[in-house]
């Protein structure tokens, strides 16, 4: 055998070590005096030095199980775990590059305090102690509370990375009596799908990238295969979702396996994505026109009776007749008297047209075999009820769909009628008889953020693709009950269950009004220390406070779908920062991310803060981003994934342990800084509660009987790394073989090189479960669904009630009705999919009423999507990602490229209305709660045109541009000559996006990040932006991983470096 020639230099290079200098010690010591080594010697050196731990990647939200390898306490390699049920052994670039993220020279490893004015150009920070930092944050918040009120604090998170979890984001502001929390995703990502699913049927939504759509992946895991379980799904519609790019190793991999076993797909996407390229049918929908395309499917399915007749008649509310005055279903009691309520009070009887008699009749909920003996409900019907001509919900849907023939849709949506028909045929007549839809994020970022999930989940419902093998809308891990065992299902929506229900705030859907009122009333006035069941904060005072926070949260006047995550409406918050109206916001506590990269119309936020809108900005993040360089006054260091410990992540029914295997500097788990600040603030103002006003109530904390932390807010965070470990050890002990583990050291010893250290629970046969709505409940009726009607509400009555009173979130004290101009449905939220007015679009014939205006200055439609290299605002500091995708590429069809005289590789400047200063009608065309008093001064020009590199490709239609968000951390690198910038304006599509025009989505207030109008012209590479691989050298990992020493802004770098990286923090 020919020996491999290994010099010392080559030895380092063959070591599979990212930070070669870090690993040098171990390998060199193994072959210290030799200039050459045999392959076996290298192998030996590796095996002696290497150990691995199972973990879960936190590079995005896909939770891919991995093995993390260490040498001498340094992470040297990451790979996908071979037993991962979805990602199998895969790991994408975002996961691989976590090694560079963790050891990035851009890490924040110590608390940092700004010592300069805001702005990136001359930004300087100094290292302070944790005690100083916590005290500074608490002091600033206390000052703002005394000067203004508890509403002076606002909290945010989001932008990528899994650094803060929802349980914290909702509870953290409650602790302070602060009304506002936001994240740039939320209304623009996932919330609309989740909330609409809750309202329509109380189940999970159609998101594949967020791990809700899993049925099509059944049969792929080793546990499934050992149990002899195979996949049932044979047809999936991927609507505006790109699993190959958004979650490459997880849903991307699982879809590859699905297709390999013959599964069919329809892909609806403006871009010819990897999933589209492998689809049976691709529908290249024009950005933002999805609702019209959906209605064309309803039109065909209703007209040709392709729907599941039994399910639609007895388990959806489409046959019920709707009172046109209230938009709500007629109750049988209103028409036929009290005796018509033949089912329990929690299960209303409605009214329908009996197909057998042609007359109106009561429609009770029940077993189809029983109910059909009484009445044969007609899905499409119109009849006089109490003297009022009333349509069935089905008829209302059919009428709404009427304009949207396949031909009209070809003109409006740019989807060829023939392809559209082929897609409908595959969906309605799939192999195996059951199909399902997976909906991605794109519509969340468009005007139709509520309408699209209404339409798409409604389609699965009328097709009867619910709780069935092969469907999307299933409930995993919940075996159907035996007859007589279950009760009528009820639900508290999402966060309310944790933060509202204990103090009687929020309405339990499925329970009666009387039962809900009784729950609210039963909360005690005062805390009785002798009552062992009682908790100090379960009192009427807390109920009042939590209810008041719901009422006063910014944006709830009109956009109440946000209640589902207890979140605020971002443009309304921004305007309050600008104007101090309706109340002053003074301190911003951000929990994660680069806000200037990920907030829509980012320049408006930059202007609002730079113009003095806020007294103090606190942030925690592992990396120093544009947001920190420009705006943050105090930065707490938090752990990256490889430092973080947790026990409950995984895929499907697999949980993998996630031990923190390294520790750098003074980083902490993400709950520590918020918890310490809550503690410090509570102590600091304990004797000033009479001087601190609770929001705008006009009453002090003391007068209301409140103290900090308020209620069941954020009181369960960890105060140190050790505390977190102590808690996680309890959870780890649930893993097989780890029952007796008591300490971190024992855990690490057990986990070392233990590839099988994970948990499969429940077992496959109890995980893949169906038919939950079918057994008889204890009241003799089928279990049904946790909605008011106990059926799938394809006609979503919850939205109508939400727009009137804030039901079910804002209770017992309720909201006023929304501004009627803000509603899309006779002054209320539309309960079905309809085509909302699109603000900006290319020139489309016959689009009056559907497109606000065509502006010839901006004739192109820009949309966005995921790339393989980055998750949201993350990883732009990862050199192996940047050399492959150095700057955003903008895809342009060859026909359009010719028209503009651009070629692949050219730089172009991209502009939108946000870069020219166009005024908007502050009232909008559909009403608004924004005054834009301050924005007018800015003339609503919130930034300059951005830049991107042209990719000429037929992957998009003519007049469509496709480009992902970007920011450039090199723009404030120390090596930059001349003026440094924050790097968020040069190539960031969020400078162009539209969070300005007040015509937001009615339910969620979603602003428009996709499908808006732009123009392009040839330009050149912007100053400060790197594109050549070698330029990214300053981003390569370092043993001196320290807060941006090369930025050159730190007062005393020397003290701030960790010279050694310790394993496990010991």
């Amino acid at each position: 055998m020919k020996p491999i020639q290994l010099t010392r230099r080559r030895l380092l290079q063959s070591a599979a070590v990212a930070g070669a200098a870090l690993a040098a010690g171990s390998l060199l010591s193994a072959c210290s005096s030799t200039e050459t080594a045999t392959k076996q010697e290298v192998e030996q050196a590796r095996q002696v030095e290497r150990a691995f731990y199972n973990s879960i990647c936190h590079g995005c939200i896909a939770s891919c199980p991995c093995r993390v390898y260490l040498e001498d306490g340094v992470v040297v390699k990451i790979e996908g775990h071979p037993d991962a049920p979805l990602s199998q052994r895969s790991l994408c670039m975002k996961g691989l590059n976590q090694l560079h993220t963790c050891y990035s020279p851009r890490r924040v490893l110590y608390p940092l305090k700004r010592t300069s004015a805001r702005g990136a150009e001359n930004a300087t920070f100094e290292r302070i102690s944790w005690d100083e930092a916590v005290d500074l944050a608490a002091t600033k918040i206390a000052e703002a509370f005394e000067k203004y009120s508890t509403y002076a604090l606002m909290v945010s998170t989001g932008g990528g990375g899994s650094y803060s979890r929802p349980s914290m984001t909702a509870s953290f502001p409650i602790s302070f009596g602060a009304a506002n929390f936001f994240e740039p995703g939320c209304a623009q990502c996932l919330l609309p799908r989740l909330a609409i699913a809750s309202y329509m049927y109380g189940g999970s939504c159609q998101s594949m990238a967020d791990g809700m759509v899993v049925e099509c992946f059944k049969g792929q895991s080793k546990a499934d295969q050992e149990a002899g379980i195979t996949g049932d799904t044979q047809m999936v519609v991927l609507w505006a979702t790109q699993p190959s790019a958004s979650s490459s190793a997880q849903a991307g991999r699982a879809m590859a396996e699905y297709r390999a076993r013959g599964g069919k797909t329809v892909v609806v996407d403006p871009k010819f994505t990897a999933d589209a390229a492998k689809a049976d049918v691709w529908l290249p929908v024009r950005p933002g026109s999805d609702p019209a395309l959906i209605l064309s499917w309803y039109r065909v399915i209703l007209d040709e009776k392709l729907y599941d007749e039994e399910f639609t008649k007895y388990f959806t509310n489409l046959p019920v007749l709707i009172n046109p005055d209230t938009n709500l279903p007629w109750l049988a009691t209103e028409v036929f008297g009290e005796e018509a309520q033949t089912t329990p009070a929690n299960t209303p009887v409605y009214v329908c047209v009996d197909e057998n008699t042609g007359e109106i009749a009561p429609l009770p909920f029940g077993d189809p075999a029983v109910v059909s003996q009484q009445v044969n409900p007609q899905v499409l019907a119109t009849a006089e009820v109490n003297g009022v001509m009333s349509r069935s919900a089905g008829q209302i849907y059919r009428d709404e769909a009427d304009p949207w023939t396949l031909e009209r849709v070809e003109e409006f949506c740019w989807v060829p009628a023939e392809s559209n028909r082929a897609a409908i045929d595959l969906y309605t007549n799939p192999p195996g008889g059951v199909a399902g839809i997976a909906q991605g994020v794109a519509p969340d970022m468009e005007e139709g953020s509520s309408q699209v999930p209404l339409g798409l989940m409604g389609l699965d419902m009328i097709m009867g693709y619910v709780n069935k093998p092969g469907a999307t809308l299933i409930q995993t891990g919940k075996p159907a009950a035996a007859d007589g065992e279950a009760s009528r299902p009820t639900v508290f929506l999402d966060y309310l269950e944790r933060f509202g229900a204990p103090v009687g705030v929020g309405y339990q859907i499925g329970a009666t009004e009387e039962e809900n009122r009784a729950r609210a009333d039963s909360v005690p006035e005062t805390y009785d220390p002798n009552d062992k069941e009682a908790k100090p904060y379960y009192t009427k005072a807390t109920q009042y406070a939590v209810n008041q926070l719901q009422l006063d949260r910014l944006g709830m006047t009109n956009h109440r779908g946000l209640y589902d995550w207890m979140a605020s409406h971002i443009p309304t918050v921004r305007e309050a920062v600008e104007t101090g109206d309706p109340y002053k916001l003074a301190v911003w506590f951000d929990l994660s991310g680069n806000k200037l990269a990920v907030l829509g119309s980012a320049g408006a936020w930059y202007n609002a803060v730079m113009d003095g809108g806020l007294d103090f900005v606190i942030s925690q993040h592992p990396i120093l981003t544009s947001f920190h360089m420009e705006l943050a006054d105090l930065v707490f260091p938090v752990e990256e994934w490889l430092e973080a410990t947790g026990a409950s992540d995984g895929q499907l029914n697999y949980a993998f342990p996630t031990p923190g295997v390294i520790h750098l500097g003074e980083t902490v788990p993400h709950t520590v800084a918020p918890q310490l600040v809550v503690d410090a603030l509570s102590e600091k103002v304990a004797d000033k509660l009479d001087k601190i006003m609770f929001g705008t109530t006009g009453q002090s904390m003391e007068e209301l009987g409140l103290s900090f932390p308020i209620g069941m807010g954020f009181t369960n965070g960890n105060r140190s790394e050790d505390e977190l470990w102590d808690r996680q050890i309890q959870k780890f002990s649930e893993f097989p073989g780890a029952e007796n583990i008591k300490t971190k050291e024992e855990f690490l010893d057990f986990a070392k090189n233990n590839s099988k250290f994970y948990l499969v629970s429940p077992p496959p046969e109890k995980y893949w479960t169906y038919g939950q709505h079918l057994p008889l409940a204890d009241d003799g009726l089928p279990v049904g669904f946790p909605t008011e009607s106990r059926k799938c509400e394809v006609y979503c009555t919850a939205l109508l009630k939400l727009s009137q009173t804030g039901w079910p979130h804002c209770y017992p004290r309720e909201n006023e009705p929304i501004d009627p101009r803000a509603g899309n449905w006779n002054g209320a939220y539309a309960p079905i999919c309809r085509v909302p007015e699109q603000k900006e679009a290319p020139d489309i014939p016959n689009s009056e009423g559907y497109i606000a205006a065509y502006d010839p200055d901006f004739p192109l439609a820009l949309t966005s999507g995921r790339v393989y290299h980055y998750h949201h605002g993350t990883m732009r500091h990862a050199p192996f990602a940047r050399e492959l995708y150095p700057a955003p590429f903008v895809s342009i069809n060859p026909e359009t490229a010719d028209e503009y005289g651009v070629e692949s590789g050219d730089w172009v400047e991209i502009s939108s209305r946000r870069t020219v200063g166009t005024d908007y009608d502050p009232q909008g065309t559909r009403g608004t709660e924004l005054s834009y008093a301050k924005s007018k001064e800015h003339n609503i020009k919130v930034g300059d045109p951005i830049h991107a590199i042209v990719k000429v490709s037929k992957e998009v239609a003519p007049k469509v541009l496709w480009m992902e968000r970007f920011w450039n951390p090199e723009c404030y690198d120390a090596t930059r000559e001349g003026k440094k910038t924050g790097g968020w304006q040069e190539c960031n599509v969020n400078v162009l996006t539209n969070a300005i025009d007040p015509n937001f989505n009615e339910v969620f207030g979603s602003y428009t990040n996709r499908g808006f109008a732009v123009n392009i012209k040839k330009s050149s590479r912007p100053d400060g932006v790197w594109i050549e691989p070698k330029e990214f050298e300053p981003f390569m990992p370092t043993a001196e991983n320290q807060v941006t020493p090369e930025v050159g802004v730190l007062r005393d770098n020397k003290d701030m470096r960790t010279d050694t990286v310790k394993f496990g923090g010991e």
């Binding site: 599979a16 297709r259 290249p284």
Partner: protein, 220 residues
């Protein structure tokens, strides 16, 4: 012995995890690559278009021009397992092999080039099939023991997000690569090589006609 990579293009999504896995494993400098992913298409009339992604690395030619032409013998075929390799200490950086290799850019700097000129070290480098890890492997991983060298695979194969990559000796019918080809053949899916006159590449690609028409590297 015919050790090589087989890539299933019906699965590949062009995610470049293979490129980055390779960079970490082989500690490649910025700008230095052993593999690339070439996007072929979309071709056709919009919206009736097709496209595939073609990951490309050293094709492990049976009749390797690089071995023939190398003036120092630095380009050689491993006598034990037949892998085409470059001995870094013998390489003088003359770039003759770059001109001879039908899959490389003569300057060793332009993508996609399967041989790459390492400026810092003044040598030519390329994919070794991670021979230091996999020299005796059949390409079928031992899931329970990642240190089992008789079943090791290159990280580009292990981490592939589409499960599209296979490694092994194509002369061994039990290797992972041979098994993948046999399965594809049974399913009636077409098997292709990036043909180059005389070189006889061993690397294979699977691509069904209903996904896209094979065009090799496409229009360059």
């Amino acid at each position: 012995m015919a050790r090589a990579l087989v890539v299933d293009l019906d699965r590949c999504s062009g995610c470049e995890a293979c490129v980055v896995s390779c960079k970490f494993q082989n500690n490649l400098d910025l700008g230095n690559y052993f593999s690339h992913v070439v996007e072929v298409g979309p071709t056709g009339e919009f919206p009736d278009i097709e496209r595939y992604w073609l990951p490309i690395q050293c094709q492990q030619c049976s009749n390797a021009p690089c071995v023939e032409i190398c003036p120092t013998g630095a380009s050689y075929r491993d006598s034990d397992n037949g892998a085409v390799l470059i001995d870094a200490d013998t390489c003088i950086g003359c770039k003759t092999c770059l001109s001879a290799c039908p899959y490389s850019d003569p300057t060793g700097a332009v993508k996609p080039s399967v041989r790459w000129f390492n400026e810092a070290e003044q040598i030519v480098q390329k994919c070794t099939l991670c021979n230091d890890l996999t020299a005796t492997s059949d390409g079928v991983e031992n899931d329970d023991d990642p240190f089992d060298s008789s079943h090791a695979v290159p990280p580009c194969v292990h981490n592939c997000t589409c499960g599209a990559r296979y490694f092994g000796d194509l002369d061994d019918p039990n290797s992972a690569a041979s098994q993948a080809l046999a399965k594809a053949e049974n399913e009636g899916r077409a098997i292709h090589s990036i043909e180059a006159e005389g070189a006889q590449p061993v690397a294979k690609y699977i691509l069904s006609a209903d996904i896209a028409t094979w065009q090799g590297l496409g229009e360059r």
